[in-house]
Amino acid sequence: MSEAVVRQGAQAERRSLRWRARAPLVVAAARLRGHAGRAVLVGAGIAASIAMLVGVLGGSVIARDRAVQRAVAALPASQQSFRVDAFGLAPGQNYAQADRTIRRVLSSLTSTAPLRAMFFRELRVAGGLVQLASLDDLGRFARVRSGRIPRICVPARCEVFELGAGGRAAWDQNGIHLVRVGRGVIRDRALFGDFLQPARESNGARATLLLASGSAAFDRLPAFEGIFRSYSWIAPLDPRRLHVWQIPPLLRRESRAQAELARYTDAYELSGPDAALTDARAKGRVSAQRMVLIGGEVSTLLLGFALVCAIGLRRGLAAERRRLLERGARRPQLWLAVGAEVSAMSVLGALVGVAAGAGIVAVVAARAGLPDAAVLGHSLGSPLGVALVLVAWLAGTAAVLAAARARETTRSGLRLLDVAALGAVVTVGVGLARGGLNADTLAAGGDATLLLLLPGLVSFVAAVAAGRLIGPLMRAAERAVRQGPGALRLALLALARAPSRTIATAAFLIVSLGLALFAASYRATLERSARDEAAFAVPLDYAVSEGSQLVLPVAAAPLSRYRRLGTPYPVLRLSGTVAGPGTSVLSPTVLGVPAAALTHLHWRSDFSHLPPAELASRLGADGPARLRGVRVTAPDVSLPVRVRGTPVRLDLAVADSHGRIRIVPLGERGAGVWTLAALLPRGTRELLALELSLASAQRFGYFHREAEVGATGAPAGTLELGPLRAGAHTLTHWRGWVARGGARLAHRRVTYSFTQGQTILLRLPQPTDGHALRVVVSPEVASAAGPNGSITLDLEDQQVPARIVGVAARFPDADQQDEGFVIADESRLATALDARLPGTGTPGEIWLSGPPQAEQTLRRAPFAVLDVASRRAIERSLAGDPLARGMELTLGAAALATLVLAALGFWLALVSELRDERGELFDLEAQGVSPDTLRSQFRLRAAILVAFGALGGALLGLILSRLVVALVRVSAATETARPPLRFEPAWVAAAAGLGALAVAAALIVELTAKHAFRGDSPERATWSLE
């Protein structure tokens, strides 16, 4: 019985506990119903912040996914697949067995059935060179120009399809009967890589490409037994069906597949777009890390908005708390009542925010052609996403609860905040001191914590600093206007008399406007960075250089042809070395650029403290240089010589009207008297130099001895020169000519000694002789210079003395990490090089300043053989990068949403202020202050708050932007930024945003003032109840 009583008692106690918990919840529910408007406002603010956070998470996944798809789509077709290439079959496996094995392995990587193919090397059949291949589903790939698709391949008749034209109709030999039934081309040829590139004979003739239907077609022909063939199984990847979250498991499956194939034979090679996938994933991780920054901004805003809400709720909650206390509520019940009310608003707001954010993400994903459910699952549904949203909601709720229960700020409380702010400054400083985050560190995990906390920490410091300033500032301002207009004085009085409320509102405005400016400025900085990056890679509009066919731009077309497209500047790019610090050697990039071009390059002021015009002036102060030569009057030249000593080889260096230098051999002669003759190439205009080098046999012997036994006596001799004639005309008697490179010329006698097997040059004195080359260098090179800035450029065995006339931190398209660069005037550098060894000063690039239409022309002959880089194309590519676009969209949305929240919070704060000030306003009106004056002071007060918020927000936005730019050294497309990011304040966007906010604020103020001061009598203050 007693046990039953005890049990009943326990049940009763539990019921009583439930009911004790229920009572405060009933109160909370009633308050929510009674103040639905305020609850909606608070919830809306929280919803907006959570929606933004969810949007950031989802947007990050979408951007990363698009980046992966883009990276794979950008691969050559042959690499956009998983493929197994078999150079022979595994021991004990026939084709069918190998086929089954490989198809099974590939099915674990992609659901697309692989395309099978068999390839033979070039064969000679019936006297003709053929290259045979057989493909599954040939009809899908072949585009028939004549005839039809092959149907059968049997020993008696193997129907084939010819790619291209010019082959025979049939090839018959020893059991091989190939019959051509159609001709055409193959679609997606690149899918097969080099396998379908026809081989060439030594006489240049190409093999005929013949295709049969069915991968095992030739297996049916006994004649081909024993002939080596390779096999391919190609499973193309559809980039649109590949998603970023599939990459890690895909790579793991690929490893397993490779291991399984290796069990059979090493001859099975599995390949896939691993590098592209891994790279895309790493880039995506960088982007995700940076998105954490936006997440931190959102969380800060959420906390700020929550605090503003708390100020508005404080009074009501305090009154309810007092009532409950008087009714005998226990402390836990009090907490339950307040906590339930606040939590309900924040939970509802969070749920709406999650739903809204998810909706936005789903719409964006659908428009991007991505599976919305999967995107949501891997963003919002990921452990990180759930944790972030939960933490954001908890932090916001806790902040509102804490602020709603806090007493008015006391002096001691502010001191605690000061200490906390100092701690925040130290934390940010330590984080920055650890160094910036580049693409590699971010890809490896970066410092997500610092990125997440950075906006919050900096905003917190700004808010505390503002809090310290506002009170004294308002009081001082009020003192200053004591004789001024009444409305202004009243406005400043109102701000000064309630410092905690003023600080909270101003701090919220500062933080939200600051974060909006940061988002807009960082976006502008990233956009600018893309333009800078493109301009750094292509300093003018186009950069034309040698392509795979090794044709120089000046050889493909004369400069006059380039002038039809724009303004061309020939550029020399060389590898060289200079002395570095101590005994080290630097390998800077050496560029010869026309001095005049510097003023047209896309330049940033942080590249050098000297403006480009000044650099151009210093670089070109010696004037342009041109190689001096002797005009040639006829193409047939002759030169009588007498050789004594080591046999020599003689060449003439000549130039045509376009400045192209050619070496014309005169011949090799030993001791004796000779008359050398040569026919100069058509178009030769000038004779530049006579080159003297060791004859071939002597050169070979000399270097052989050098290598075998070390230094031996240098081959030497003398050469007496007769007049050089061109036709009947004497070109030169060699008077005034000089010898370079280890020889002496006197009275037409050259005394030579080949101490290093070098080339000796006889030429006219050149304008660069005896003059150090004027150069602009990087700081690394400048720091190791000799007296008066002298350096020696070692350019492929040519020593060129130079003098530093300027230093630049960066130079476009000359970014040699830690090795620096050296920039010289192109004509003087080219002349200096040609004067040492003709032909070595030929520019290898042309930088062209031209309109967009020029791009099309540069893709056609004669420029088609060249490599053309377009600044505009690079800009377009960077701007279109999904990660860049995703980041910029997110920042833009964050800036807009932040402004909306600023307006919302401002409204809430104004409404709370008016409610809290009813007593003071009544007292003022009782003293005779007119309603018009009270309305004016209200407007002025709001204007002062907005102005303070704008100024403080501008400062906060600038500081935060600079910090982030300094810390996160990654471009919008998540590459390490070259040149480094440079902060670009978004003044226009900021002005527009501030203007919009000012208009919204003015509307809010007017509506609120109209509502507050309506009626023909003032509202009684709450204390005046009698």
Partner: protein, 500 residues
């Protein structure tokens, strides 16, 4: 049931401590209904908060229902005490229905919500509000709301009911109803009640009246009997009327003669020689109300009041809480508009003026000292008065005004560091400095001790007599009332401590 011994409660402020209770001693027997009377600022509300455990004594002790005052916690209050506030709007949640409000304390104690609801319904039926059980307080009249508050306070059958001006905001009929209900509910449940009130209806249900002044019990009485003065450790507070008759002596001789205690003043100014400012002949009517009616919803606060206020006269407006004193002042200041009738100032009707015009009128002609002066906390006393003059565009003597109210040593102290009483005096100085023809003062001595209350009364009288202002003062304080030239009672039933 209740025992309080030598209770002291000091509230610390920047200006120093404010003593609310100064050695108060009180005993209440079980089942007794005790009404506590005293002017504003005498410590009545503080006494109730101490007994309910919402404040702690600075010194002294006591017990309630056998529990030491220092041990009263939330649980004790929930089970044993019922609290009833004069401001029903503050004590009733606007968001809970009447049934929910009444049942709340039972539910907080862990009772079955259904049972609590039934108990609430029974109580509401008892007070005639059964059909309003699902309504929110906003739709009820003031009297109905206070009835709901009474039910809420007794629903859990507390052993002790503490009520602070329970009918303070009600008209006479409603006040009578509320007190009758209290009597029924308290006696019906065998509880004890301590009621703070000025109301005659409260006295009618009391078993005992206790008079409190300056934080001490100074006298007690049975209803209908003369009060007996409390002797506490030999201290007795002599009533003002008696002192006035003997010339306010500062020294008396005491002897016991024939079982009687005889006090003989040694000094003191003969009544005739008392330098009260002689009232000048009343001047012309400065402000007047004619057949004025003021209604707040269904509640009628002023009903056909007609009265003129003359220059050179100090008029005391008396009445219990909620009788319309402040409303009258606001009507005279043009801060509220009458529901019917007319208000004139300087012979001109205020009815046709706009809100802005009324503000202009006040700027030049009216000074109002409200119960909560809106001083700027960080400005000094002098700067606050200067601000008041600046807002009026007036030249005045801010320094002199502050000296007049006895704050010559506090000129440069920020208002935040002044005591509540000192802030009240700054507000009065601000009004005096303006030298307006109409000076309206609402409970000016609410936070002042007797000495300061007397000097404030003298100051207001001087403002009327010497400067010719029409001074209208809403007050409960007998000290002020005795200095008034005229007294208006708005309800005719006020019990105020002018005898004390």
């Amino acid at each position: 049931m209740i025992e309080v011994r030598d209770a002291f409660r000091i509230f610390e402020s920047a200006a120093g401590g404010t003593v609310a209770l100064q050695g108060l001693n009180l005993t209440v027997e079980p089942g007794e209904i005790v009404v506590v009377l005293g002017p504003s600022g005498s410590g009545k509300t503080t006494l109730l908060r101490v007994l309910s455990g919402l404040e702690r004594l600075s010194a002294g002790g006591g017990n309630v229902l056998g529990t030491q005052l220092r041990d009263i916690d939330d649980a004790f209050r929930a089970r044993n005490l019922g609290l009833l506030d004069q401001h029903y709007a503050r004590s009733l949640s606007a968001d809970l229905a009447c049934r929910q409000t009444v049942a709340l304390q039972l539910e907080l104690l862990g009772h079955d919500p259904r049972q609590a609801g039934r108990a609430a319904d029974d109580l509401l039926e008892q007070v005639g509000l059964a059909d309003r059980a699902d309504d929110r307080p906003g739709s009820l009249s003031g009297g109905e709301q206070q009835r709901v508050a009474v039910c809420a306070a007794v629903a859990h059958r507390p052993g002790l009911l503490l009520a602070d001006e329970p009918a303070g905001e009600l008209d006479s009929d409603n006040a009578a109803t509320v007190y009758r209900l209290l009597d029924e509910l308290v006696r019906g449940s065998g509880a004890t009640a301590l009621i703070v009130s000025h109301d005659a209806h409260a006295a009618s249900i009391a078993d005992r009246l206790v008079y409190v002044r300056d934080g001490r019990v100074v006298a007690q009485a049975r209803p209908g009997h003369d009060p007996a003065f409390a002797v506490t450790h030999g201290w007795v507070r002599l009533p003002d009327a008696v002192l006035a008759q003997t010339g306010h002596p500062s020294l008396v001789m005491v002897e016991a003669a024939g079982g009687r205690l005889v006090l003989e003043p040694i000094d003191g100014t003969p009544a005739a020689a008392l330098t009260q400012t002689a009232a000048a002949a009343p001047g012309p009517v400065v402000a007047a109300v004619e057949a004025v009616e003021k209604r707040y919803g269904r509640r009628i606060v002023l009903d056909g009041l007609s009265r003129g206020f003359r220059a050179g006269a100090l008029t005391a407006v008396v009445g219990r809480s909620g009788s319309g004193k402040t409303t009258l002042l606001h009507l005279l200041a043009g801060l509220e508009r009458p529901s019917a009738g007319d208000v004139t100032l300087g012979g001109d009707s205020l009815g046709g003026l706009t809100r802005g015009q009324l503000a202009g009128l006040r700027r030049s002609h009216v000074a109002l000292v409200t119960q909560e002066p809106g001083l700027v906390p960080y400005l000094t006393a002098l700067e606050n008065v200067e601000l008041g003059l600046y807002l009026r565009g007036a030249d005045g003597g801010p320094r002199e005004a502050l000296v007049q109210v006895g704050l010559e040593h506090h000129l440069n102290l920020p208002a935040a560091r002044l005591s509540a009483g000192e802030r009240q005096r700054v507000a009065i100085a601000r009004a005096l400095a303006a030298r307006t023809q109409l000076l309206l003062v609402d409970e000016p001595t609410a936070r002042l001790d007797e000495e300061n209350a007397r000097s404030t009364g003298a100051l207001l009288a001087r403002a009327a007599h010497e400067h010719g202002a029409a001074v209208v003062c809403a007050t409960h304080d007998g000290v002020l009332i005795e200095q008034a030239d005229e007294t208006i009672s708005l309800d005719g039933e006020t019990v105020y401590s002018s005898q004390m």
